[in-house]
Subunit: 371 residues, 2 copies
């Protein structure tokens, strides 16, 4: 692994001289990204002789390309064109700041979802961790399959089996305890192919996009089929998206006073599945405004993109990340188990959504280069 | 009715000379209040010879008392003391800005809830509006009682009757249509006692408190037993609380493509009741962070205040509005049907929550003086 080349991250694209033609989109909101992601690049830039004082004193002036990890192809032009027309006062497509809501799917849109959803890897690991206290699992499916690494039998257990795994591994504790379990797991778990913590397997172009939108007055939300409490412990640090802007699937919780201490207990019962037609419902329930931009990568995002873009108003942006890069990441669409992109890909052509070809449109996939 | 005296609103408390001792809490966030509420006062201030340019050029300098409608009694001191200690860098009670979450009940805490919840008045009016298309209602309870103004029979129909009314008046249409119905109703409906639009019957001291908290880096949320879609159409304009920061009760909705148009239909089925032990559950579900300040007025807020203040950390603020002013508003607590304050009043004494005595602690109740 080597660090990203300076030209591929926002701060590092800075030079000493700033021409008047260069537009600047970087404001306080966008600096979030620097804090999380670009400290390595900043260090490198400093080593290359870019005066640190310039970066500190005039971050806005030195930000020339807010999307340096995107190639200059159609998707980048679509993003920049959209953002400029909705944020320019006087433009016929101008949208007031409070209404600039952008929603992002997570698995496969912001971070890796192959060889399996990261939350599923968490559940499987968790079964193994809890197994010593459950000797009966050796003989009961789907736990037996998990413990024996028999993915075929596990897959055959279907949705029912998966739900059983989720309930055993995600419920039966307080919410605070669950968040600690997630945080601890993420600090040690490693992706089997890239051998990196999962939180490093987020897509650098999308992190830049989140920051770019925020710098232009957008409020960015995650709207994911994944568990809301699985995402909240790290989404703010990694994506700059605070807990109150994370929407996801959930199990029921119960409030109890326990020895004079108020607690929220996680119950083994599904509350809401934030996928497919559930996404617009959750967007309305939690955000209460119709987004003007939506980003997804699978059929699970179809209805979210429909809800966002088919509102009659012209200035709407719908984009799909198409996984086309087997070398740097993965290539899959209509036939995969995780993140199937089939109906939504057909709909994109009809509805005018922009399809991002990862291989052609992204200069860089992850924050760090994998070798 | 006459306008509020200048000294009773934030902007109007401004004078040309600013002493160094005066602290300033007003920032961009707080200006929200000016846009919504204080244009009348601003106009009056201008008439009184306060140069408009001072207000525009240095709004921060001219803001001396952010809570002018509060008397200098204990609750005001508790609020200011709390805000100062959590927002002062280096203070042992310092709380980083993103964690400064404040939650507010609505009915009886931010606006009037007597002689009945405003949303109930809406439902009753709605039954009358819809009645011509439902001739059968003349003979069926609880509709018969509503149409005959027989509140005693209506009350006797209990929760079941009430729920029936809510389903008939709140479901069976798209979400957009419902919001329009609410907005239209609020523009013409008048409170029976004060003869004013309901949106004018919000408590001026609480509106100042919302703005003061936001000016000090707080994110303010409404967490109400009322319907979330009943509040969202006006909460931003009236309280400065955007739709995504309104948490409330809800009915289920369904996403459907209808003639190539994506729609959200409101179904006659309860989704969530955001009251009592439901409030901490909803706070966790939608906000995902534990608040550090909570404001309520009834037993429905007990668990929300417990969840907020009994977290082990010292810097937490819990407050209850006690309706003690029959002359300017209403006086009720342990025995009322709407907004009963009984268990929570007992808990306040034990837990150390501050009880606001409306009569003694509020210089002014509403934005306008009622005569």
């Amino acid at each position: 692994m080597r660090l990203a080349a300076p030209a591929q991250t926002g701060a590092a694209a800075c030079s000493g001289s700033v021409s008047k033609e260069r537009s600047c989109h970087q404001t306080t909101g966008g600096l979030q990204m620097f804090e999380t992601y670009d400290f390595l690049s900043l260090a490198r830039s400093a080593a290359l002789g870019v005066a640190a004082v310039v970066l500190v004193a005039a971050p806005a002036l030195c930000q020339t390309d807010p999307l340096p990890s995107w190639n200059g192809t159609a998707p980048k032009a679509a993003i920049v064109g959209f953002v400029e027309k909705v944020s320019k006062a006087g433009s016929p497509d101008f949208v007031p700041e409070p209404e600039r809501i952008a929603v992002f799917d997570n698995d496969g849109t912001l971070w890796v979802e192959h060889p399996m959803y990261i939350q599923l890897a968490f559940a499987l690991d968790r079964v193994k961790t809890l197994a010593p206290a459950h000797p009966e699992w050796k003989d009961v499916q789907p736990f037996k399959a998990v413990l024996e690494g028999d993915m075929k039998t596990l897959a055959a257990s279907g949705e029912k089996g998966l739900l059983e795994l989720i309930m055993v591994t995600h419920a039966g504790m307080t919410n605070d305890d669950f968040q600690k379990v997630v945080t601890d797991w993420l600090s040690t778990a490693r992706d089997p192919r890239f051998k990196r913590p999962y939180t490093e397997l987020v897509y650098q172009p999308m992190v830049e996009l989140l920051a770019y939108l925020r710098a232009n007055g957008f409020k960015t939300f995650i709207v994911s089929g994944g568990g809301v409490e699985f995402m909240r412990p790290w989404a703010e640090k990694i994506y700059g998206v605070p807990p109150e802007q994370v929407v996801g699937s959930s199990i029921k919780t119960e409030f109890k006073m326990q020895d004079d201490t108020p607690t929220l207990h996680r119950l083994p019962e599904v509350n809401f599945i934030d996928d497919k037609a559930g996404k617009p419902v959750a967007i309305n329930q939690q955000i209460g405004r119709r987004p003007i931009a939506a980003f997804g990568n699978s059929d699970g995002d179809l209805e979210m993109l429909q809800w966002t873009t088919m509102a009659g108003a012209p200035a709407r942006l719908g984009m799909l990340v198409h996984h086309t890069d087997a070398e740097r990441e993965y290539a899959y669409d209509r036939k995969t188990e995780f993140g199937r992109l089939d109906k939504a890909l057909d709909a994109a052509a009809i509805t005018g959504w922009t399809v991002i070809d990862m291989k052609a449109d992204w200069k860089q996939i992850f924050h760090v280069h994998m070798e």
